[in-house]
Amino acid sequence: MKKLISNFLVVAAILTISACTKIDNYDGPNASFQGNIISSAGGNLQTSGGSTQIKLQQIGWTTPQTIPSKFDGTFEDTKLFKSAYKVVPTNGAFWPVTDTIVVNIAQGTKHDFTVTPYIVIKNFTTSLTGTTLTLKYDITAPIAAGLPTIKDTQPYINTTKLVGAGASIREYSDALAVSINKNFTDLTDAEKSVTLTVPNMIPGRTFFVRVGVRLSDSFNSSNFSEIVQIDVPK
């Protein structure tokens, strides 16, 4: 009887071990997609966390996926399935891109998108007097007609290079937002050139600083300046 049981166990063990030898015959997610989101006003579109994304819709599949843009306007995803995708940049502070294009994504596929930003921040300068930081910049719009209402403008300050919406010190950033709530075409020249002051910067620290202008588009998205490093002396 014991022998019978042990024989039975041996057979069961062999079956179990040999049952799963078939190898998955589909390719893993070894395709990649990378590139730049280029601003029509020159350079890459300056972005921030939780904003600009590349939306990919795999053809023959229902749920879209997204690749978030990095702060410098580049994007990269190295774990995609090889296939044809409809791609479009979305969620950022630029005029909506309506025509999606189809890209065959394989290993090392590169593609650059060009978008027209709502707002371009020009002549961004910083000056530090004691512990008070003064930020000056001009708000310009490549296309003024039909621009979403401008909500507010504000500094973004953080202790790391990752600085932007949701990645900033509240007292130096969101708390200093200046409401505008006007259409760009209704702004006077004086209102278009902004001066912000950030008091009580901590001596002996290094900060990374940029400014942004927020619009009431579908995403309440912001256009940003480039990031500047500020060393506050001891």
């Binding site: 229902t62 749920t63 969620n91 909506p96 969101d174 579908s218 995403f219 309440n220």
Partner: protein
């Protein structure tokens, strides 16, 4: 010899088995109720209805906006509520954690109702025509309730009126979405049927004809606002172009009129609860006393049936209960809807109070009945909220609050045992930053809290007070809002003043839309309405734009033996932001997988 015996036994078993094996199995299964059983009596239909009622999308005590409707015996975390992300309260949610919804898709329940509607007319002989009509009316009400739960989340959804045949071809089973306007119109016409067919009265917990028309006033107000405000503030996308979300602006007045007419139809049939001449006690009892003439449709709970909720054990601190903890607290922002509290003098210095309870002098009874203020008592214990002690205090309140915490001269404590010169530093009821089981704002919820329950029985899953899903107070607010939108301020003013009389508030002599909306917020606080109000008014992305909320912190000033109150950020200082895409939830991905005809998905999903 033994082996022969064995052989005989073996043969007899084999023969016996083969002889009896060809019996036909034609006994009907005893654990499945066939239509004949269900529809042979009203009691049978009632038992079928119970399931449909139980699953109704009623946003009650147990509803968790990020997980769904709860019907189990241990869904006790009642502080995970909608109020806690929209500034009525601050709670355990870390931010706008509920806007994605939970993939609500109740087509199984809708199928149950559809089955009921298609079967009932076949059983007139056993049930009588009048019973069948009343039950059909109830079924139309229930179907509208389910579709309302869908429409307010997704906009247009597939309208399925008959039970689908699982064997039908896939193409007929994969139903396309209807337009948003068609969905709301369907809800309206279903509720009209309910109103026409149901009797005037019903058992508690079941709907009568007035429940149908009351729900209609709510639903049509949603549709009207989506038409009016959703055509101004929207996210564009293919679903919008196709009308799957959004209603043309010119339809708004039609829906406002429908909401107004529906609310007016309840006049004379229900009235505001006014049994007690003490205005505070009256407003407290409104949510606790059975048989209130204000209750139109309620949901009941039972310890015996394991459906009880835990409101009492989770809204008050452990100090006043027998178990568990509280985690969501009313904000000062909500309290200030009633006006600024008199906590500062004209020169900006904090007003000194001999006792914390003095703050409540002159406040509106409805406010005091909605929120537990410092100094009130519950079950013989006092709400002794105290954030800390100032050995001495000078200067203005604003200057003190603006200081960095480490440069403030107050004394705080990590627990209630720590003393300062023999005086307890923080109250037994908080506020405290060590966790969130004591208030973070200086207030506690009072609405719906059963003050008569002895402390030893205030345990989890031991609260049975019903949830009032539709009450006449809301109907007056629906009516006032619709009247205001239709340009009839006189009617709006009279409805609002009825509520203000009962609330013990000073009456208005004139009215505007802001006053109507604020009255709604005050009257319906914590009743899971304001989240949807913010959505249908399309103001959520403005009100909840990097929003932080405040509390009112009581301190003891040691050298003066007085109390002061400082308005400060709630102790976790959390941020809440509502994205515009959240005005609609995305169609659940799993459902799109089963039925690609649900595409295009809502904008930006």
């Amino acid at each position: 010899m033994k082996s022969i015996n064995k052989l005989i036994i073996a043969i007899s078993i084999t023969v016996g088995a083969s002889v009896t094996s060809c019996q036909k199995l034609n006994i009907p299964p005893t654990n499945i109720f066939t239509p004949e059983v269900i529809y042979s009596s009203e009691a049978g239909v009632k038992s079928f209805l119970a399931t449909i009622y139980q699953n109704l999308p009623i946003e009650d005590f147990k509803y968790r906006p990020d997980q769904g409707f709860k019907t189990g015996g241990n869904d006790w975390e009642n502080f995970y509520n909608e109020a806690g992300v929209i500034g009525e309260e601050v709670g355990p949610f870390g931010g706008m954690d509920i806007a994605g919804g939970f993939g609500y898709w109740p087509y199984g329940d809708i199928r149950n109702v559809n089955t009921l509607i298609s079967e009932l007319p076949k059983h007139v002989s056993t049930l009588t025509q009048s019973t069948v009509n009343a039950l059909l009316g109830e079924a139309h009400f229930l179907r509208a309730y389910y579709y309302f739960g869908l429409a307010k989340r997704y906009g247009g959804v597939p309208i399925i009126k008959e039970p689908q045949d699982p064997a039908a071809p896939l193409s007929t089973l994969q139903v396309h979405r209807n337009k948003e306007q068609e969905t709301w119109d369907f809800i309206g016409s279903e509720l009209d049927l309910g109103y026409q067919m149901m009797p005037e009265t019903s058992d508690a917990g079941r709907a009568n004809k007035y429940a149908a028309i009351a729900l209609k006033s709510r639903a049509m107000l949603y549709a009207a606002c989506i038409a009016k405000y959703g055509s101004v503030n929207f996210v564009d996308g293919p679903a919008r172009s196709a009308g799957l979300v959004g209603i043309p602006a010119d339809q708004a007045s039609k829906y406002f009129q429908a909401a107004y007419d529906a609310a007016k139809a309840l006049e004379g049939h229900y009235s505001l609860y006014n049994a007690n001449s003490d205005k505070v006690q009256n407003y407290v009892d409104l949510f606790l006393k059975s048989g209130s003439p204000e209750n139109i449709f309620i949901k009941q709970y039972s310890i015996a049936n394991q459906t009880a909720h835990s409101w009492d054990a989770t809204m008050s601190p452990r100090y006043m209960t027998a178990n568990a903890l509280s985690r969501s607290y009313p904000t000062l922002d909500l309290v200030q809807l009633w006006g600024n509290l008199p906590v500062t003098n004209d020169d900006g210095t904090p007003k000194r109070f001999n006792s914390r309870a003095d703050l409540m002098q002159g406040l509106e009874p409805r406010l005091l009945a909605t929120i537990y203020f410092p100094g009130t008592t519950l079950r013989g214990l006092t709400f002794d909220m105290q954030r800390g002690i100032y050995p001495s205090f000078s200067g203005t309140a604003a200057a003190e609050v603006a200081k960095q915490p480490n440069s403030r001269s107050y004394i705080l404590a990590g627990d209630t045992k720590t003393l300062y010169q023999g005086k307890q530093i923080i109250g037994f009821t908080g506020p405290w930053t060590g966790g969130d089981e004591l208030t973070r704002t200086g207030f506690y919820v009072r609405k719906y809290v059963d003050y008569n329950k002895p402390q030893a029985t205030v345990d989890l899953n031991r609260s049975e007070q019903p949830w009032i899903d539709l009450r006449y107070g809301e109907i007056l607010l629906n009516r006032a809002e619709a009247a205001m939108e239709l340009g009839n301020p006189t009617d709006a003013l009279s409805s609002i003043n009825q509520l203000r009389t009962r609330a013990g508030a000073t009456l208005y002599s004139s009215i505007d839309l802001t006053k109507v909306r604020n009255e709604r917020r005050m009257e319906l606080a914590f009743e899971n309405q304001y989240y949807w109000d913010l959505k249908r008014w399309r103001t959520a992305d403005v009100v909840l734009d990097r929003a932080h909320f405040k509390g009112l912190m009581p301190y003891y000033v040691f050298n003066e033996n007085k109390y002061i109150f400082l308005a400060e950020p709630e102790l976790f200082n959390r941020e809440y932001t509502f994205q515009k895409q959240f005005y609609y939830e995305g169609i659940p991905g799993g459902e799109i997988g089963k039925n690609p005809n649900l595409l295009p998905n809502n904008p930006n999903y």
